[in-house]
């Protein structure tokens, strides 16, 4: 016959307690995952809803990211094209360009001579006949002016443009930045969209996980009651539900990552074809390591918080009524 324990149970030592604690956690986490896979259809549905919800803001982020890269490439085109007066010859343009290169606002000046402009024009095709009729080259010398990065803001570019127009040789100038500004505004808009959509769909994920865990708690009412009866702490009872929430989050995050990556693979073909029309290459950037980590840790956090809310609301611990 087994003897009962002495009057008061010995409390385990700290190291022993930690070992028990860690062992319980690992075992609990794996057991919870096993439970989720025991019911693959409802689990899969919850995970899919979370994944799709998170894929939307992640995809929008990727779009914004790629557009920004694209804009970065275009930044290297001249900010200001300065058209010189017709009576300024190619030879006179060189000292002017040298002079401009000394200006602190200016990073680089390229001379597009009258001949090279004409050749470029010819190369475009379709103008051969019209050009044949001309006795002399009607095109002016153009200076392509690239500002220093620190002077590339729209207001400063306008000041620079005015300064250039005061040059004796200048005829007129064209700024290539208006569309860039618009593009920047669109990018800002998309970024705000990422934040808003992320916030809204993140709340959705909280509700999905919260509701799934709530149903799970209701399903296991009797089991929970009996565990309380035999001396389970409220932490022990809550733990599997919190782990389930974290697992839902992680699996949902991985699904979102997979969806975005698949979409990019599908899109890469058409983007490459489009880029080749512009004689350039444009490899689409996906979710990088740090972005992936943000998506995954964010989704785990959402899952945990969602299940935490459900557990707080529906498990009242071992308090006697």
């Amino acid at each position: 016959m087994l003897k009962p324990h002495s009057r008061r149970r010995r409390l385990p030592k700290l190291a022993e307690q930690f070992q028990i604690w860690l062992g319980q956690h690992v075992q609990n986490a794996l057991a919870t995952l096993g439970r989720l896979f025991d019911t693959p259809v409802p689990t899969g549905m919850t995970v899919a809803v979370i994944g799709i919800s998170l894929a939307f803001p992640a995809a929008l982020y990727v779009v914004a990211d790629n557009l920004r890269t694209m804009a970065g490439n275009w930044d290297q085109t001249a900010a200001i094209s300065l058209f010189l007066r017709h009576d300024v010859a190619d030879e006179a343009a060189t000292p002017l360009a040298d002079q401009l290169r000394k200006w602190p606002e200016i990073a680089r000046v390229d001379i597009i001579s009258r001949d090279s402009a004409l050749n470029e024009f010819r190369a475009l095709g379709g103008f051969e006949e019209a050009l044949e009729q001309l006795k002399n080259n009607p095109l002016p010398v153009v200076l392509a002016i690239y500002p220093q990065a620190a002077f590339a803001l729209p207001a400063q570019l306008e000041t620079l443009q005015n300064k250039l127009l005061r040059l004796q040789e200048a005829d007129f100038a064209r700024m290539d930045t208006v569309w860039l500004q618009r593009f920047q505004a669109i990018l800002d808009l998309i970024q705000t969209g990422v934040v808003l959509l992320g916030g809204l769909l993140g709340m959705g994920v909280l509700l999905i996980v919260g509701n799934t865990i709530r149903l799970e708690i209701l399903n296991r009412r009797i089991e929970i009651e009996i565990m309380e009866l035999v001396g389970a702490t409220s932490a022990f009872i809550r733990r599997p539900f919190l782990y389930a929430g974290a697992w839902y989050g992680l699996l949902g995050g991985l699904t979102a990552w997979l969806l975005v990556t698949l979409a990019l693979i599908l899109l890469q073909g058409s983007v490459s074809r489009l880029a080749s029309l512009y004689r350039s290459e444009f490899p689409l950037a996906g979710l990088g390591v740090s972005e992936t980590l943000i998506v995954l840790s964010g989704s785990i956090a959402l899952g945990l918080i969602g299940s935490w809310i459900a557990v707080e609301r529906h498990l009242h611990g071992t308090e006697p009524n």
């Binding site: 009962p4 149970r9 565990m227 006697p320």
Partner: protein, 222 residues
């Protein structure tokens, strides 16, 4: 081991379920709790297991004053009090082994030790061969013995039983009570609520009689 001092329990909807209950049980004592239905037997046992708190009065169990026991210590108190119910309260979708293991699993005990202790407990109630069965595959008497094994597997110093033989025929009831006697021999303090007066009389243990929430009789066994 169990001490009640002027304990009252009032339910807002039903009035007083227990009125001014005072008694003391020593370590290793076995006693019966009798009385008609609605007398307050279950309520008294629930107070000892801290499934409910008294409205007034002090209860000391195993050196713990239950009135001042903080909420987060309640699980540890329950590990020291094995409870057996008329309806067994087993998990229907878990094996006999898993049901009996539950009180050990919640303490975080290792697999091997759990297995060893569960088999020892099942051996005591004569169900060692049924560890893989699920509860519905067992007879009422066997289910009750699973409930007993679960109550004693953590070797609690106090064992409470609420009409444990309510659904069993006299022979099986007798067997269950003999099982309880064996726990008493090794020093467990037992309090058993029952209305099987014939059986109570035949066993000569201390008997508390409740009537309408009051302790009307406390007869010593011999």
């Amino acid at each position: 081991m169990i001490q009640f001092e002027h304990v009252f329990k009032r339910y807002p909807e039903r009035g007083e379920a227990l009125t001014n209950i005072s008694f003391e049980m020593k370590v290793g004592e076995m006693a019966f709790l009798t009385g008609p239905s609605g007398a307050g037997k279950s309520t008294l046992l629930r107070l000892i297991g801290l499934l409910e708190r008294p409205t007034r009065g002090d209860i000391v169990v195993n050196g713990r004053n239950l009135a001042t026991l903080p909420r987060d210590r309640i699980p540890y108190h329950r590990r020291d009090v094995g409870m057996i119910f008329q309806d067994h309260r087993l998990l229907p979708d878990r094996s006999v082994f898993d049901n009996v293991a539950l009180p050990l699993v919640v303490t975080g005990l290792g697999h091997k030790e759990v297995g060893r202790r569960v088999r020892a407990a099942l051996d005591q109630v004569g169900l060692l061969k049924r560890e893989r069965a699920i509860p519905v595959a067992l007879s009422g008497g066997e289910q009750q013995r699973v409930g007993i094994a679960r109550a004693v597997v953590g070797r609690p110093p106090v064992l409470l039983a609420d009409e444990p033989t309510g659904n069993l025929d006299p022979d099986l009831s007798k067997e269950i009570f003999q099982l309880f006697e064996r726990f008493q021999y090794v020093g467990v303090t037992l309090l058993i609520a029952t209305h099987d007066l014939a059986l109570v009389k035949s066993m000569h243990y201390r008997t508390f009689s409740l009537g309408e929430g009051r302790l009307v009789n406390d007869t010593r066994g011999w």
